[in-house]
């Protein structure tokens, strides 16, 4: 640093005195500096105020969602006309046993489609559910569609699962039965019973969807 000071000039300058700002001015400036810091903190306070709105808005959103889901579920319920009194339990249990027996063939196909999985004890309904889940995965991964031939039963189950109503699903099963695709029909019927365990199939429809001996 180049010092351009002249000693005499500097000394005389110091003799001019050391005036200071008045105390009132000091106080005003320091108060302003503190206010500035406090106002800087204001944004930290503001979210507290905004948070007051979060809860009502969140509650309203939850209520709206709950109402929407309830209405949607009610629309998915089967019509009262199509619900018939429950048939005697014996025939139904016999039908289930028959379905379990018939499921063995599609299970073999499913195992072919998923060779990595070790063969398990035959559990028709749970395996069918697995097949439905596999169908969902196949939709998310286009490359897996290459194996569509091996996954035909799973696709069928997926179609049943995606049916708009139980009646439509039963009609589809009946159509499969008419076309002689009994294995697929059995599989679809088993999935139907898994998805709609409380649904009572009318006698006439039951004749159409069950395999006739």
């Amino acid at each position: 640093m180049t010092d351009e000071r002249d000693p005499k000039v500097s000394r005389r300058y110091r003799e001019l005195g050391a005036e200071d700002p008045p105390a009132g001015l000091d106080a005003g400036i320091l108060a302003a500096s503190r206010r500035a810091v406090e106002t800087r903190l204001a944004p930290l306070v503001a979210p507290t105020g905004r948070r007051r709105w979060y809860f009502p808005v969140a509650a309203a959103a939850i209520i709206t969602l709950a109402v929407a889901v309830t209405v949607h579920v009610e629309r998915q319920q089967p019509d009262a006309e199509s619900i018939t009194p429950p048939p005697p339990s014996a025939p139904e249990s016999r039908t289930d046993a028959l379905e379990a027996k018939k499921d063995s063939a599609p299970q073999a196909e499913l195992r072919k489609a998923k060779p990595a999985k070790p063969p398990a004890t035959p559990q028709p309904l749970s395996r069918a559910a697995d097949a439905v889940q596999e169908r969902g995965s196949a939709d998310a991964q286009p490359e897996s569609r290459v194996r569509s031939a091996a996954q035909a039963p799973a696709r069928l189950l997926g179609q049943v699962a995606k049916a708009e109503s139980p009646e439509a699903a039963l009609e589809r099963i009946a159509e499969l039965r008419r076309q002689g695709k009994h294995d697929e029909a059995d599989k679809a019927l088993a999935e139907f019973r898994r998805r709609y365990p409380d649904y009572r199939i009318a006698k006439e429809m039951l004749k159409k969807v069950e395999r006739q001996r």
């Binding site: 640093m1 180049t2 002249d6 700002p21 400036i29």
Partner: protein, 177 residues
């Protein structure tokens, strides 16, 4: 060991009001005298002094210690002084070339001309604004030539020249005693 000015200003920027108070108390006297001896009117000096500090407070969010805090402070002071002189009808060229209006020797002061201190004060007041500013920044604020140039937006040669002219004139006033 006292905290450096830059550290205090950063602390204030981050919300530490006590850091500003320390900084203010450290610089208030020199800055006030710089302003007071630039404008001579105490009321005007107090007004400008307050405005400079308010600008410091307002600019705290943008503060970055790229130079000494003192340089930054007196840069703000310089800009405020330029605004002041402009309002009084002076251009930047006139700041360097002419004495500000109203600087003609006060009759009362002429009567006290024999007093050395008064002569010196008169000589200081009589300096062109830019020269007086350079002198005060060097003598009162302790800025170097480069820092004066930075604070006043000029180059080092101009700052040095102004300072030398100012010191020479004041020296002449002192030697006239």
């Amino acid at each position: 060991m006292e905290a450096p000015d830059e550290q205090l200003m950063l602390a204030y920027r981050d919300g530490n009001a006590a850091a500003f108070e320390t900084l203010y108390l450290r610089h208030r006297g020199r800055l006030f005298r710089f302003v007071l001896r630039s404008v001579k009117s105490r009321a005007t000096a107090e007004e400008l002094f307050q405005e400079i500090w308010m600008r410091v407070i307002e600019a705290r969010e943008r503060y970055a210690p790229q130079a000494r805090f003192t340089t930054w402070l007196y840069t703000i002071a310089h800009h405020r002084m330029v605004d002041h002189w402009r309002r009084r009808g002076l251009s930047l060229v006139e700041l360097d070339e002419q004495d500000p209006p109203g600087d003609s020797p006060d009759p009362a002061r002429q009567l006290e001309a024999r007093e050395a201190l008064a002569r010196f004060a008169q000589a200081l007041e009589a300096l062109p604004v830019a020269q007086r500013e350079a002198f005060l920044l060097h003598e009162e604020a302790g800025l170097s030539i480069a820092e004066i140039a930075a604070a006043t937006g000029s180059n080092a040669e101009a700052a040095k020249s102004r300072l030398r002219y100012a010191v020479a004139k004041l020296k002449a006033a002192v030697e006239d005693d």
